[in-house]
Every structure is written in structure tokens, then in C-alpha cells.
Point group: C2
Chain length 316, copies 2
């Protein structure tokens, strides 16, 4: 176990060679690494938002699916997505890696992917931990600040429900790989290079959003979280769901690891302005309703349909 | 991948059963878990100190060495030790766990150990991430605040060098286990139940300490970090080293994962007052000297001796 340590203090050990490879890949997006803990200043009047997220080989990805750069990039965007969901501004990133021998020569490329995602978010890499281990694992901790953070519990009856981007790509990429096929390029890109909707979230928060959540475990599952935390019924019209590359609404509902945002707002949003600004769609998919018991209902052309459940790694 | 989510939103899945077991073990030391990111307030005028630390099975411990409670307790204390080294006050903890099937029934006990360490530090558990995986891995992120954080770069020539506690126990415990023997109870306890020196660090900082570091990779290795970061020579008198349970000074110098503190202060400290307050010794072990090149020198009865190196997981 070693903390990431700056060039000046690096000794001759193999551990330090790995750290040096990471620092070389990061360049000036790594900042002030070297003490036992990183020091950050949270802007006065703002709260700190912090989240941690693990990507584990054979659980979240397989080696032949994506490149080491993409493994690093994806793990970091997945973590940043939790800051986006709170409408927080990223302040910094900590990177805890467990690296088996068979992955050691890929550490520079993996770090480059982490660095690219950090750069896009404007979040310096402030430290981390490096250890060996039998399984490749990346645990990324993201720190941000927000003056008015959004949570899951703020949905009000009559709020409109929107979702960013187009859904279903990552799940279809995984399905293709698991079947020994090559996924379509859009689906592959959505799995390998998701983008945390950090700027989009701030746009949405500035327009009065009441609540937000990112889609890590599938839209249906995240809607249930929102409904329970806010004690409302969320009624979605599945024919409105933005399905990517000819996918079905069932795929859009159940597919996980999208890292798109579901947002609830009291008034209708300028979806054209959003699309022009960010180059992705913003789609109204339903509405919140007052309810005795929290619920998610799905309607297809006015008829209620069954919801599939989200992904659960521990179900067997 | 799932964020730890509160009781109210828990569905019927196996993943949620595991989260429920953890929340049950934590009780009121878990706080506000449920949104995508945890929100914390850093006291005005203070900086945030944050660090992340992984404990991986077969790297940092083996299954038959210590109990699941101890695995959780130890991983959390190890992470908290980085806050101690900065003289920071703990604010919160995030827990990222990767749990193989064979460890699932132990998750409540592991969480109890994590909770015990969090309670001792006064640091609520604020969130985390739970995933399956082929290897048991705990990545603990600790957050704290400090008005005058201490680093590694503040050592001044003529500063006195002190170390808390008694050294060598964890390394001797590991040696015994690896040889198929039962370690002595003091050595075992030092490995299984280390204590982050959080209160001790604040006592030391209040008495004018210039610099501090915790001993995760072995005293000799940490002294080198201090010497390089501060550009001084650190000269230690090895016969002064506090060796536990009849250990040798070489064991005290090289043994890792002690989680004791090395501290540098301009004046001599009240070691008796320290021992009375905290129940562990504080020992003066040497002094800093002005030097052309950063160095650590070890003297035994006035003669210079060779230093063994610290532990490097990646050397083979």
C-alpha cells in the first residue's frame, strides 16, 4: 500500500515506477500529490459533495471488451456522474487502484484515461492509493461543491420527468460481447466512453430542477429510488423513451450504467436549447403524481405495462 | 454497483440484503446515506483533508489471520491514520467494498468493525459503494478538516524527532503467521486492531509540531519521505527506538503498517504527560540536521549503521 507520491520523493522500487508512470500520464492534471491526505478548499457557503465508485474486472467490464484507456476513462466518468446527479461542481479526484501483475504494463494507459476524464471535468487528481491484488479494481472518489445540491427526495406532484441522452446502448454492447459478437459502434462507445453530465446538470439545476438522479442501475430502478425518496408516483410513457440505435423501450428501461440523468422540474424545459448547447437530446418521459404509496407506473399508448427490474450484481 | 441506500428505498434484491446487513451493523454511526453523493459541511476557515486507502485480501491480510470484524476495523483505522498524520479532525467516511460470494455471510461482522472504528473517530459513515468481485477488497475514504494541517515538508534543522507507541508488532505477527505459528498477543493485536492516532496528532500539533507522517510503509521509509519533502538530514539513534515485546531495532525500523506517528517539533515534548493522557509512549528518536542532500542516517551507539528499506508490494 502506498500513497501516490511526487517525483521528488520517488525511490527505486517497482511501486514507485508504477506511480511515476501514472504521474507521467497525468501531467498537470495531477496536483499537490504527496502528503498523507489531500487538502482542498470548499468555496465559502457551499457544501462538499463526495462519492466513491468501484469498477472491478469481470464485474463491470472484461479485459477484451475495452482498452486500458477506456477502463480508466469509464471508471472516472462513472464516479463523476454521482457529482453530476447532485448538480455539484467537481473539485478533485482520488484514485485507488488494485493492479494484478498481468495489468502492470497497462497502468500508464489506464492513468491516461483517468486523466482525460479528470481534465474534461476540470477536476484535478489529488491523490490515491496503489496496491497489487489478484483482480484489477479501480475505486474512484470524486469531490465537488454545490450551493444548492439536488437530491432524490425533492420530486413534487405534477413535476415533469426528463431524461438526458439516448438509452440502451451499454446494455446492448454487453449483450453483444457476451454472445461473442461485436457491438455496434454507438453501443460500444456508450459503454466504453460514457460522459458524466456535469455541465448538463448545472444547466438543469439553474432552470429550477427539483430532483435529479443518474442512471447507474437502469432507468426503472432509478425511478423507483426517486419515487420512494420523494413519496410520489412517477408515471412514464414508455413510447417517449429515447432509445438509441433502434433499441426497444424495454432496453431503455432496464439497461444499466448509462450515466444519463433523470431530472424532475416544475415547468417544461427548452429541449431544443438543451440539445443545441450539449449536442444530446433532453426528452420529456412522464410526470410525477400525488400518491398514497410511492410507485413507478409505465404506460404504453395509454395501457399500463409491467416494469422489468434493474441490475443486481448479487442476484444469481 | 450500487450506492448504499437507506432502508426506506430498499428493494427485495440480494444486493439490498447486504446493504441492509451493513446498515443494521452501523446503526446511528451511518448518517444521511441515500443520495448519489454525500453532503458535508467543512467548518468555515478550515480546509478539507481527504485520503483513500485500500485493504485487499492476500495483499494486506489473509483470511485465517484475523476475524471479519478485525478486517473492517483495521482497514478503517488504516485510512483514518492518514487524517491523523495531517492533524485533521475526522468528518466522515465512505466505504467501497468488493465482496466475493465466500465472504457474503461475513459482511455484517465486517461492517461492525468498520462502524466501531468510525465511532471511535467520531466520523459518521456517509456513503459508499458495494460490488461483487473475485477478491475481498475494502477501499475506505476518510474526510476531515483542519485549520493548520501538518504535512511532510515542514521539518526544520534541529527539530526533534519523536515517534508514538511501540514498533515492530505488525511485521512480527505477519512473520509468525507466514511461518505457520501463532503470533504473540501484543503483536497480533497491533496488526489486527491498530489505532489511528487522531487525538494524539491534535495534541502534538497544538504543541507546535512542524511536520508529521504516519508509519504505513515502515519507519525507515517514512523518514526518507520526510527528509526528501523537507530537504533535511534526519539522524536517528536506533537504540532509542521503542521496540515492542522484546523486538529488535531493525524490526522497529522496517516493519510496516504500524499506523504510529513520526513527529518533528522545535522543542522537547512532555513525554510523560503524553503517556499519561493517551496510555502509549512518546519517544524521542533523533534530530533533524541541515544537509546538502536529503538523507536519513541511523546511528547505533555513535556508529553509523545501514538502513533496511521499507516494504514494496510490487517488488518480487
Amino acid at each position: 500500500m502506498a500513497h501516490l507520491t511526487p517525483h521528488v520523493a520517488l525511490g527505486p522500487g517497482a511501486e514507485f515506477d508504477l506511480i511515476r508512470a501514472m504521474l507521467d500520464a497525468w501531467g498537470d492534471i495531477a496536483e499537490g500529490i504527496g502528503d498523507d491526505a489531500a487538502l482542498l478548499v470548499v468555496p465559502p457557503g457551499e457544501r462538499l459533495a463526495v462519492s466513491t465508485d468501484s469498477s472491478v474486472e469481470e464485474v463491470h467490464f472484461r479485459r477484451h471488451w475495452i482498452t486500458p484507456e477506456e477502463i480508466g476513462y469509464r471508471a472516472t466518468q462513472a464516479a463523476l456522474s454521482d457529482l453530476a446527479a447532485m448538480a455539484a461542481t467537481p473539485l478533485g479526484i482520488l484514485v485507488a487502484l488494485s493492479i494484478p501483475d498481468s495489468w502492470r504494463r497497462d497502468i500508464g494507459a489506464m492513468a491516461a484515461g483517468i486523466g482525460e476524464a479528470a481534465r474534461e471535468a476540470g477536476a484535478p487528481i489529488r491523490g490515491g492509493d496503489l496496491t497489487t491484488g489478484a483482480v484489477l479494481s479501480l475505486t474512484i472518489t470524486v469531490l465537488g461543491s454545490a450551493s444548492s445540491p439536488l437530491g432524490r427526495g425533492g420530486v413534487k406532484p405534477l413535476d415533469h420527468l426528463y431524461v438526458t441522452g439516448a438509452l440502451g446502448g451499454p446494455a446492448r454492447a454487453v449483450e453483444a460481447w457476451e454472445a461473442g459478437e461485436v457491438p455496434g459502434s454507438w453501443c460500444r462507445e456508450r459503454f466504453a466512453r460514457p460522459r458524466a453530465r456535469v455541465r448538463e446538470a448545472r444547466w438543469l439545476a439553474a432552470r429550477g430542477a427539483h430532483a435529479m438522479i443518474d442512471i447507474s442501475d437502469g432507468l426503472a430502478s432509478e425511478l423507483r429510488h426517486l419515487a420512494h425518496a420523494s413519496h410520489v408516483e412517477l408515471r412514464i410513457e414508455v413510447e417517449r423513451l429515447p432509445c438509441g440505435a433502434g433499441g426497444s423501450w424495454r432496453e431503455a428501461l432496464s439497461g444499466g450504467e448509462e450515466y444519463e440523468l433523470v431530472v424532475c422540474t416544475p415547468q417544461e424545459l427548452d429541449v431544443d436549447g438543451f440539445a443545441r448547447t450539449f449536442g444530446i437530446p433532453l426528452t420529456r418521459i412522464g410526470q410525477a403524481r400525488r400518491a398514497e404509496h410511492p410507485a413507478v407506473t409505465a404506460m404504453f399508448r395509454g395501457e399500463r405495462v409491467d416494469l422489468t427490474t434493474g441490475h443486481d450484481h448479487f442476484s444469481s
